[in-house]
């Protein structure tokens, strides 16, 4: 099986220490986390982790099961690049005089969809939101013009084929879980599930 980029989306309770619990699932297996973001989710009180790794599907699947095993984790999904809409935000600090003087720079920035966030006498900060290659490209472009600082955020991703977590959460809140609560790849129809 081939390694490829997977984006793992984890819905969790908001609990101190959970970041560590999730992070060590990767480090214990010597798997590098390419990017990790935590944020609120569409559901009040539910947190959302977005984790990017390069692995085979078999490994990613096992990792997701280990993640879901954590008491405060509601659900973990993994998706390939094609199954998500994703963005990373990058900030670039460039000397203002260069931009003012070099017409070319202004054009380049516009071509890359950069927006000025702060303009000062001494420097200007631009932002670009996009895919990795896009934000990377602009670094190369700006380097000859004295790029002072660069930073890029972790990835945030939306799963194309997802209805969000509102409905799922209801199932979790039931004492007798519905089938979605313990979703797995063999998601069965209702009549295939024993209710004991």
């Amino acid at each position: 099986m081939l390694k490829q980029e997977y984006t793992i989306t984890v819905y969790t309770e908001n609990q101190i220490g959970l970041l560590n619990r999730i992070a060590i699932i990767f480090s214990r297996r010597k798997i590098n986390i390419e990017s990790l973001n935590t944020s609120p989710s569409e559901v009040d009180s539910v947190h959302r982790f977005t984790i990017v790794i390069n692995e085979t599907e078999d490994v990613v699947k096992k990792l997701c099961r280990q993640i879901e095993k954590q008491v405060e984790v509601l659900k973990a999904y993994y998706n390939t690049q094609e199954e998500i809409v994703w963005q990373e935000l990058a900030l670039y600090k460039v000397p203002t005089d260069v931009i003012a003087e070099e017409v070319k720079v202004e054009r380049l920035l516009r071509e890359h969809g950069a927006k000025a966030v702060v303009i000062r006498k001494d420097y200007t900060v631009f932002e670009v939101a996009g895919h990795r290659e896009e934000t990377d490209n602009l670094i190369k472009v700006l380097e000859p013009y004295g790029l002072i600082e660069f930073v890029r955020s972790a990835r945030v991703a939306i799963i194309k084929n997802s209805d969000g977590f509102h409905e799922k959460l209801k199932e979790f809140e039931h004492r007798e879980p519905g089938e979605d609560a313990i979703e797995n790849e063999y998601l069965a129809k209702k009549d295939e599930v024993f209710s004991m």
Partner: protein, 590 residues
């Protein structure tokens, strides 16, 4: 001591700016801890006090009648005792320890309980909340140290959280696949008075699913595979015992007529002399079950996790078989061995559903294959081990005599090494929850404290600890606990004057280069005597039976040292890196 008194002064005269001032009135956090334990029907606690847990010990002073506390000699002893207690009683073990070194001393036991799925709740004291992160006296980051070795952990800094958090702790430790939980309570929270509203047991946590849903489709598919099988083989682990599914399991194999082998932790779930029981799996397991794993057509794994000591080389493991895997932990399915049919669920619930759908069958020829292999093992290994022709004593003959005397009724607690493998190979059991050993972690020093716990877990049966001369020296301080609290523990030291298991490997795989396996021992009988425990050391065959009898008849604990052959090896053996069917019966076959 100075620093400790300083902290103590602070309690008495708390400074105004600190959040640790206990409000007046109400119930103290420490008392709420006691109330929680009583509500959870805890009877026995194993622990050791210290500065950061003093308010809890102070509260315990008034709960002396409801809660029995056993003062161990080392916190590792406390947690192993709690593990032994939990595994014999089927209840949750409870441990108290102080912050810093008290808590770090628990780590080995937590790792052991984690990998062997033992329900234990550890309550550790922690420095005052306002001191967290200041490198205060006896402050360690217990939550982060224990995260990889706990099913759940939580730090309480406010007393009002105590009832809810402890309820969660017990629920999580016991439900689903059990495991250890650490609750770290800062001293201010133990002292803090609050408006206590009573204790309510936890039955639901929205983000936590102890049991997966049972899927009819998979039960049906599993039944179909079983009904169509010609050479089906059942392998089972501790899941049967943890799920309290012994009856359901027995009914299942008896209707199916399928031979069944146990993992080291599944042992005793069915009586060892059950006609369908074909022995132990794994590196030093029996010959037939290992070889025939690679000949069965349907392999039915119940509550076991395909540990590498059971599977040997994975790419040579049961490749020909369709695998049905019954497990409560979805993360175990497909982890090591791909399941043809995954039967998610608590086996106490899934087994009866499966039993209903399968046909009543027998496989006389297939079962005979196991018997033939057993005969071969008997001739080449077992006979000489149990009834040796030479003068030196074997570990096996001791176990044989013990079986005869205890009538397979004892709880046997083993340490780690050759004696553990021999004991688990030859001990007989007719009751469940009787074979207590450190399976997944292989923790030397486990047996003595675990046996103390086991003796509290079921005082109605004799507890026999079987320990090597090396492992005994790892936790022998717990003889002090036996001296003080007088549980009835029969201690057998099988002394081969070596770190035997490591020596065996050095002999077989490192060209006889014995590197630091030659261990000298104190006079164990004298040591025991120093703790007021009677004992004896023997080295003659004719003394074995009378000495064992004396030990078992003795009212109270007893230590029996038996000098056995120095360089005996444990066989059969699946050498590391080989497949299960490459199991060998002797050195010559390697």
């Amino acid at each position: 001591m100075k620093a400790e008194t300083e902290t103590f002064e602070k309690i008495k005269t708390p400074q105004k700016s600190e959040s640790s001032i206990p409000p007046l009135g109400g119930v103290g956090g420490a008392v709420a801890v006691m109330e929680a334990l009583v509500a959870e029907n805890v009877e026995t606690i194993f622990g050791y006090p210290g500065g950061a847990i003093m308010p809890i010990y102070d509260a315990l002073y008034d709960y002396n009648e409801k809660l029995k506390h056993i003062l161990v000699r080392h916190e590792q002893g406390a947690i192993h005792a709690a593990q032994g207690y939990a595994r014999v009683s089927g209840k949750c073990g409870v441990v108290f320890a102080t912050s810093g070194p008290g808590a770090t001393n628990l780590v080995t036991g937590l790792a052991d309980a984690m990998i062997d799925s033992t329900p234990v709740v550890c309550i550790t004291g922690q420095v005052f909340a306002h001191l967290l992160g200041t490198d205060a006296f006896q402050e360690t980051d217990v939550i982060n140290i224990t995260t990889p070795v706990t099913k759940w952990n939580y730090q309480v800094t406010d007393a009002t959280e105590i009832p809810v958090v402890l309820a969660k702790a017990f629920y999580i430790a016991k439900s689903g696949r059990p495991g250890p939980v650490v609750i770290d309570i800062t001293k201010n929270a133990q002292l803090q008075k609050f408006d206590y509203k009573g204790y309510e047991k936890c039955e639901h946590i929205r983000s936590y699913r102890p049991k997966p849903i049972i899927r009819k489709k998979f039960i049906e598919e599993a039944a179909k595979l079983i009904n169509g099988a010609e050479r089906p083989f059942v392998i089972f682990g501790q899941g049967v015992i943890l799920g309290k599914a012994e009856k359901e399991f027995k009914k299942f194999i008896e209707k199916a007529g399928i031979p069944a082998a146990w993992t080291i932790l599944g042992m005793s779930a069915i009586p060892t002399d059950h006609p369908l029981g074909v022995g132990m799996l794994g590196m030093h397991g029996n010959y037939g079950p290992n070889v025939l794993t690679n000949e069965c057509d349907v392999l039915i794994a119940v509550g076991m996790r395909f540990d590498d000591r059971v599977t040997g080389r994975l790419d040579k493991y049961a490749k020909q078989a369709k695998v049905i895997h019954l497990d409560i932990d979805p993360a175990e399915i497909d982890k090591n061995v791909k399941a043809t049919v995954p039967v998610w669920g608590d086996c106490r619930e899934t087994l009866p559903l499966l039993t209903e759908l399968i046909e009543q069958k027998v496989y006389p020829q297939w079962l005979q294959r196991f018997r033939d292999y057993m005969q071969k093992e008997e001739d080449k290994v077992i006979k000489e081990e149990l009834n040796p022709s030479g003068d030196t004593l074997t570990m096996g003959e001791v176990i044989r005599e013990l079986n005869e005397l205890t009538k397979a009724d004892a709880i046997i607690v083993t340490d780690v090494g050759q004696h553990q493998m021999v004991a688990c190979r030859y001990a007989q059991f007719n009751k469940t929850k009787s074979n207590i050993t450190s399976g997944g972690l292989g923790t030397m020093g486990f047996a003595l404290p675990a046996a103390i716990g086991a003796a509290y877990g079921d005082p109605s049966r004799p507890t026999v600890a079987i320990i090597g001369d090396g492992g005994f020296q790892m936790t022998l301080q717990e003889l002090g606990t036996i001296m003080q609290f007088k549980p009835n523990v029969n201690i057998i030291i099988l002394n081969n004057n070596f770190l035997g298991m490591v020596r065996q490997w050095q002999q077989l795989f490192h060209e006889n280069r014995y590197s630091f396996v030659d261990i000298t021992s104190p006079d164990f009988v004298q040591v025991a005597k120093g703790f007021g425990i009677p004992g004896k050391s023997i080295s003659k065959r004719e003394d074995i039976k009378p000495a064992l009898k004396e030990m078992l008849d003795n009212n109270g604990s007893y230590l029996l040292e038996i000098m056995v052959g120095k360089e005996n090896n444990v066989f059969p053996m699946v050498p590391q890196g080989r497949g299960v069917s490459e199991i060998v019966l002797s050195k010559e076959e390697l």
